[in-house]
């Protein structure tokens, strides 16, 4: 999987990690969050398959793209496209393609939970 690792912000004032990027930290109000921290690992907390695409009527997509909600170990939740058949509890890293798409790539680990639909994760 080619691409750069997703960048997040880390607030210089309180250390809170932010994604998507902000102009000020919502926690402490610092207006200078550092902008180049790496997102680091995360865990898939939900998986959604897209069957119909807006604006294309009832034409089903051919490959049913998979989207995941990823809870980063550092705190933020990130919406990403999955590059493979991920399930809840899969460990992932997040990369940004040249197109700007954020893509979740399985890191081969089961970082939290077992994929049970009732597993809860704490930020």
């Amino acid at each position: 999987m080619n691409g750069r690792e997703l960048a997040v912000q880390r607030c210089r004032g309180c250390g809170r990690v932010l994604y998507p990027h902000r102009r000020a930290c919502p926690n402490c109000g610092s207006v200078a969050p550092e902008a180049d921290g790496a997102a680091g690992p995360g865990t898939v907390v939900d998986v959604v398959t897209l069957h119909l695409v807006p604006g294309r009527g009832k034409d089903a997509t051919s490959n049913h793209p998979l989207f995941v909600l990823v809870l980063l170990d550092s705190g933020p939740r990130v919406l990403a496209r999955a590059d493979s058949a991920l399930v809840r509890g899969d460990g992932v890293r997040l990369v940004v393609e040249e197109s700007g798409a954020v893509v979740a790539v399985h890191d081969g680990k089961r970082r939290a939970g077992d994929g049970s639909p009732f597993v809860r994760f704490q930020a």
């Binding site: 998507p20 902000r22 919502p26 939900d46 998986v47 959604v48 398959t49 897209l50 069957h51 119909l52 695409v53 807006p54 604006g55 009527g57 009832k58 793209p65 989207f67 909600l69 705190g75 933020p76 939740r77 919406l79 990403a80 496209r81 393609e97 197109s99 700007g100 798409a101 954020v102 893509v103 639909p117 009732f118 809860r120 930020a123």
Partner: protein, 378 residues
Amino acid sequence: MSGGFVGILGAAQTAYQRRPDVNVTTESLLAEAVTSAIADAGLNRRDIDGLGVASFTLSPDRVIDLAWKLGLRIRWMIEDPMGLTMVQHARRAVEAGDASHVVIVGGDRMDSSRFSAMVSQYNATTRDIVVPTGAVGPNVPFSFLTAEYRRVHGVGREAFGRVVIHQRSRAATHRNGLFTEPLTMQDYLSAPDVTSELKLFDCVPLVAGANAVVVGEVGRGRDAKARILGYASLFNGDDQDGTGLSLGLDGIAEGIWEESGRGAADVDVLCLYDDYPVIVLQQLHELGYLSEDGLTSFSHSGYGTSHPVVNPSGGLLCCGQAGAGGTLHGLVDAVEQLRGRSGGGQVEGAQTALVTNYGMVLYRYGACMAGLLIGAAR
């Protein structure tokens, strides 16, 4: 203002059209709703000195362009995608004497191509980091909310199906009902999947249409169609850092009850913003109408048969969403209910209605929540 109170003086809703004629434009829809609402208020355009507009497709025109084309000479104006927010601003403007009679209108000629263009450019965050993934539009983010709701409350898809089935039964009595054929749970569950969490009937159909109300001082020959009893709102309540399931309506409701001196038990009609069934259910939770036990009962025994009646028009899910005009659909419906003019869909004895707006997805879920409590004028 000279000691009276501010109320809703008039209300109007255009016909909703799934496939509008070529001569129907956003401007023509807004103009029709404004003209009808002024007439309903017993006013003429010279009485109007304030205008507020909610529209995604009026661009490049703005509220002043619409005022010009309608021949309105105004001293107060506003633009906002949420109708209820503008109603509250108009209320305060009238109380302060900055305006006397304000029309708040919302509407769009919305179709699939305009909708696709709008959601692709909804905001910079969506454009830059969501759309490139291929998750265009709100269905993917609201699928995550739906999944979260199912986990938190331990319910299946039937819980959402009951919302749709109830609202469809109500839409059959509404003049703008779009999906009116009776729906069974089997019909709901066997409908095409939009996503792995959403069925076709969980998503609002796009329509062309508009809604408008006139806000002004009651008295001096101006009859209220409804009284404004309370309002509260919350914007960007959690910085998009949560799961999105908490809408903030519980805190908003406290503010509304405090201002109005009413409580949840006093409400006869609930016009809850219903862009997806999960948002209806979550609002019912936060308003205290559904406890955990209540949810179980609700999910398995029925919907809408008890007090208060939820979305008596069928809501956006079954009448369609006329773009930003959807944020005034519930208010116009609520005013009609309180006037006793809802025909076969009339909630008997309706005296108090709570209307909500929810939306403006910043990243993964809506960031704006507002509630308005209105009461019968009679």
